[in-house]
Subunit: 340 residues, 2 copies
Amino acid sequence: MAGEFALIERLLGQRLGPSPVALPTSSSVTPAADGLLLGPGDDCALIAPPAIGDAWAISTDMLIEGTHFLGADNPEDLGWKTLAVNLSDLAAMGAQPRYATLAMALSSDDNSQGWIDRFFSGFQQCAAQFGVTLIGGDTTRGTRSFCVTVFGTVSPSRALRRSGAQADDDIWISGHPGLAALGLQHKLGNITLPDALVASCDQALHHPQPRVALGMALAGLAHSCLDVSDGLLQDLRHITQASDLTAELKQSALPGAPQNVQETLWQACLLGGGDDYELLFSAPASARQTLHTLSQQLDLPLHRIGNMQKGDNQGTIHLINDQGQPIDLTHMRSGFDHFA
Amino acid sequence: MAGEFALIERLLGQRLGPSPVALPTSSSVTPAADGLLLGPGDDCALIAPPAIGDAWAISTDMLIEGTHFLGADNPEDLGWKTLAVNLSDLAAMGAQPRYATLAMALSSDDNSQGWIDRFFSGFQQCAAQFGVTLIGGDTTRGTRSFCVTVFGTVSPSRALRRSGAQADDDIWISGHPGLAALGLQHKLGNITLPDALVASCDQALHHPQPRVALGMALAGLAHSCLDVSDGLLQDLRHITQASDLTAELKQSALPGAPQNVQETLWQACLLGGGDDYELLFSAPASARQTLHTLSQQLDLPLHRIGNMQKGDNQGTIHLINDQGQPIDLTHMRSGFDHFA
C-alpha cells in the first residue's frame, strides 16, 4: 500500500505488518535498554517508568513553514533543528533526553521528491547524538509543519525552574548568543556579514546545539534556568518575574561584538534576537569556580553577565554601562512574540 | 504583554508571572493528586512516575485545517474532537488517560475574535470528562493546526496490541461505525439524509466519544484491538497483518443500514469510511458472555461481526454473504490514506 503507511514505515525503518515491533508480547514485557516497551506501529508507544526518584520532563513545540523556517531551507538542517530546539527545553530543566514523538504535515511532493528523507536524516542525526529514541509519529497532508514532543528524565528536586532565582545570584549565559539573529539578518539581506562570520552565524541559526550536557550539570547547582529562544531580555524577564526579582546586566560583561559588526546592531541581536538556544541561568557566587571548571570541561563559554537583585519593580531588567549608568532599553526589540 | 504569552496565560488559566505554578519548590516535590509535579509555564512539565507496574502509553496526532476539518466547523466541537481522537488511541491500548500537551498554530484573528477560546472550551470539556490534565503547550502563527500528545497508564502485560489476535477469535466492533462517514457525505452535499438521522451522524462526525471505559475493560480480555479511524476494512487489515491471520466478516452480522439509507452507500460508509473512533477488537469465544454484560453496563452496542482464521494469504479479509459466498471488496474504498 503506497502513501501514508509506506511513508511511516520507511521513515521509522520498519514494517507495520506482521511484526510491527520486535519488542514484547504480552508474556514478555522486559523493556529494551532504552526502556522502550513498544515502539512505533501500534496505537500508542509504551515506555517503562524512569529510574526510581526520577520524573518525566515533557515539552512540545510546533514549527511551521513561513513562521519558523523557509521552504528553501536545507532539509537536513531543518530536521536537526526541529529536534534540537525541543532538546533545548529539556536541557533547560536539567533533564536527560530519552524519547521523542514526531507529527508532521507534508505536501505530496515532500514525499515523492525525497525532501522528507533528507529532513528525517537530519532529525535522526540529532536523535543519535543526544541518545533520543523516536517512539511514535503521525503524518498528514498540509502546510509543511512539524510538532515534536520530547521526554527526558530528571530528579524533581534537582530540576531547573524559572522561579528559583535568588537575590545576589550571578546571571550567566552559555555559548554564543546573538549569532543566530545576526545570521538571520544576513540571510534576509538586511546586512552583509564578513565572510569569516557567515559560517558560524549560519551554524547557530540552522544547526543549534542544545546544551544538554550543561543543563544536566547545572541540575542541583543553578538556582534558575531557561533556554533563550525569544531573545535574552524577554527570556530573562520570565526568570525575574517568576522569581519576584529584578536583574542588573553589566554591558561590559556581555559577549562582545564579532569583528566588523556594528555595536548597536550587535546589541540588538544579542539582547533582542531569538533562536539562540543557549542556557540563561542564575547561580550563587559560590558556584563560580565549579562553573569555570565546567566551562573548560565542556569547551563551552559561560558568560557571567550580571546579577539578580531585590527591588520594588519586580521583573525589571537594567543594563548598566561602564560608568554605572542605566542604558535605555525601551528601543530594544523585546523578543519574538508570535501574536504581538 | 499582549500576544503569545497572554494567550497562553489565558488559555491555561494562570499567570506565567511570579508563580507560574502553585506546585513544588525544590524542597517540596510531592505530586498533586493527578501526579503532576510541575504544570505549564516552565520549559517542561514534570510528571511523577505511574503506579508501580504500569507503563506510559503515548500517542500523538496532528489535525490540519483543510485536511481534517474546515474553517467553518464549530470551534467547540473541533476542540472536543482534537482531544477525543487522541484519547481514542489510548482507549485502543486499554490505557487510562492522564495528561495531554497541546501545540497549535493560529491566525491572529483566531486570538482576537474569540475563536480559540471556543475551541479551548470544547477541548477542556473533553479533558474534564475523561480526567485529562493539560500539562503543556505551544502557540504559534500559521495555518490553523493542532498537535496533541496524550499520556495514559496501562499495565504492559494487559495492553491491547494489534499483533495479539489468535485464530478463531471473534471479531467485534463497538458502537456506531459508519455514521460519521454518512454524516460527512451529507455535509459535503453528496447525499441528503433523512432529518431524523442528521443529528446522530453529526454527533458521530463532530463529537466522537472515545471508548475509554470499553478499552480499559478490554485490557487483559481482548487479544487484539485498535481504534477505527481510517475505515473498518483498512484498520482490520492492520490487525490481520500484524497477527499473521486472515479475517472473515459476515455480512449479516454487520450493523444494518439506518432506515432510508441505501444499502450500497451504507456498506461503503461502514466498511470504507473513516473517522469512526470505535474500537475494533478480537477476543476468544469464551469472552462472549463477559462482553455482552459489558455492553449492557456501558450502554454501548458491541457487534460480533466475524472471526479470525489461519490462512495462507495473511492479512486478507473476506466478507461473506448469507449464502456463504464471498463478496467482492475490490471496489470498496480501502480507507483514508493521506498520501495515496
